[in-house]
């Protein structure tokens, strides 16, 4: 029995088997009654059809007075009434259905219904996405994009470092032509060549090289004698100062470090003090 099987599948019928049995009995009884009525009708039709024909078209009456003519006239009027009723019903449905649908949809969680009963994957599988995308105006969408914000979120350095063949790219550049357009003089003007040369010379100890290569300055022995003399001067000055116990007196002109050309200036005027 289809109706009962359907009912048994319903959650409400699972706890009430008596109701299901009663329904089955009623359905079977109705089906039997309808079968019997059909048999009776078929038998009555076979007997009453000639009688009905005679009753509708009596031989002694003219056509306008026959019952058949009246019935046809009634049928035409009934058809017109039916069409008018359908038009009225259609107008009424046009008014009521949206209201009913709105009230129904307001009470039904349609999203949940779709999620539970609709196989969206199958629906989407039948959709021609390529054709749908082809109808999209991508340029219009791109015009609304904030490209600066998108670029700001990208690590362009990493992307270039990992994905760009810089060697290959540079190999395609005509560096000679680029170098030919360089204003070397302007570049050199911005470089402190004198300062750089001074630093290099200072690191190389060029005076020592000059002395060793030309011998124009004092030899090593002469330099040693001079330095020994200076040391002797300093020693005597310190000894005299200690003997005098003159605190705060500068024993020799102070040396405060090298001047820009590497040679310190005398701190006291060379002119002798008036004494």
């Amino acid at each position: 029995m289809e109706s009962s099987s359907w009912l048994r599948d319903r959650p409400a019928a699972e706890g009430n088997p008596e109701l299901v049995a009663a329904l089955d009995v009623a359905v079977e009884a109705a089906r039997s009654a309808l079968g019997a009525a059909a048999v009776v009708a078929r038998g009555a039709g076979a007997v009453g059809r000639p009688l009905l024909r005679v009753a509708l078209r009596p031989p002694m009456l003219a056509a306008p007075y026959r019952p058949e003519t009246w019935l046809r006239h009634l049928a035409r009027q009934g058809g017109r009434r039916r069409e008018e009723a359908l038009r009225s019903l259609s107008g009424l449905l046009d008014t009521l259905v949206p209201l009913l649908a709105q009230e129904v949809l307001r009470r039904v969680d349609l999203t949940e219904v779709v999620r539970r009963y609709v196989d969206l994957d199958r629906v989407v599988a039948d959709v021609d996405l390529d054709a749908a995308v082809a109808r999209v105006d991508v340029d219009a969408i791109a015009r609304h994009l904030d490209v600066d914000a998108v670029v700001a979120r990208l690590d362009l350095n990493r992307i270039v470092r990992e994905r760009v063949d810089l060697d290959g790219l540079v190999a395609t550049v005509d560096l000679d032509a680029a170098a030919a357009r360089l204003d070397i003089d302007a570049v050199l003007d911005r470089i402190d060549l004198v300062g750089i040369a001074g630093d290099v010379i200072d690191q190389l100890d060029l005076p020592e090289i000059i002395r060793e290569s030309t011998g124009s300055m004092a030899s090593d022995t002469l330099r040693e004698v001079r330095m020994q003399g200076i040391s002797g001067d300093e020693a005597i000055t310190r000894a005299i100062d200690r003997l005098r116990l003159r605190r705060g007196r500068r024993p020799t002109p102070a040396v405060t470090g090298a001047s820009p050309d590497g040679i310190p200036r005398q701190q006291e005027p060379l002119a002798p003090r008036e004494s």
């Binding site: 000059i210 001067d233 000055t237 020799t252 040679i263 005398q266 060379l270 002798p272």
Partner: protein
């Protein structure tokens, strides 16, 4: 070889802090001894030349004679004054000063003039002990320096500029 302004100094790095500073007793004494030796050698060579000239001019009458004390001493003193004054007025340093890296400058930091050079040469020749005052006196000045307003400084650069100015003064 000069050190251009802002250029390379030929002075050894360890000696640069002392350039332009006044020299002390030891260095100046050594320089003085060297100068004395120079004068002695010049005197000996001059005397030998004088003897040789006399021998060439009068071989028969030549008679070797010893150097008399007064003329010899006078000649030595004169020679010393000439040597010192010439050296100081022309280059600012004697040979002894050149050996020890010293230079004499006046109160403007330049080579002393001829008058100052001669006066200082006379004072140094007649009163060399005045050098000791640079030990006990202020700012390493000898008696001669105090009288003539000169100073002896460390200067290892070979020459002064054309105006006589030393680079450190």
């Amino acid at each position: 070889m000069r050190a251009a302004p802002g250029g390379v100094s030929p002075v050894p790095r360890e000696a640069r802090p002392y350039q332009g500073q006044r020299a002390g007793l030891v260095t100046r004494t050594v320089a003085g001894v060297v100068d004395a030796l120079v004068v002695a050698v010049a005197l000996a060579v001059g005397y030998a030349g004088w003897i040789g000239l006399r021998f060439v001019l009068d071989p028969r009458g030549f008679e070797f004679s010893g150097l008399n004390a007064l003329p010899g001493m006078t000649t030595a003193l004169v020679l010393c004054v000439l040597y010192l004054s010439t050296a100081w007025s022309v280059t600012g340093r004697t040979y002894g000063g050149h050996v020890m890296g010293l230079r004499l400058v006046d109160r403007r930091g330049r080579h002393p003039g001829l008058f100052v050079a001669v006066a200082r040469a006379v004072l140094c020749t007649l009163f060399p002990i005045g050098l000791l005052w640079c030990v006990v006196g202020p700012a390493r000045r000898s008696v001669q320096d105090l009288l003539l307003r000169t100073a002896v400084i460390y200067d290892w650069l070979p020459e002064a500029d054309d105006n006589g100015a030393v680079p450190h003064a």
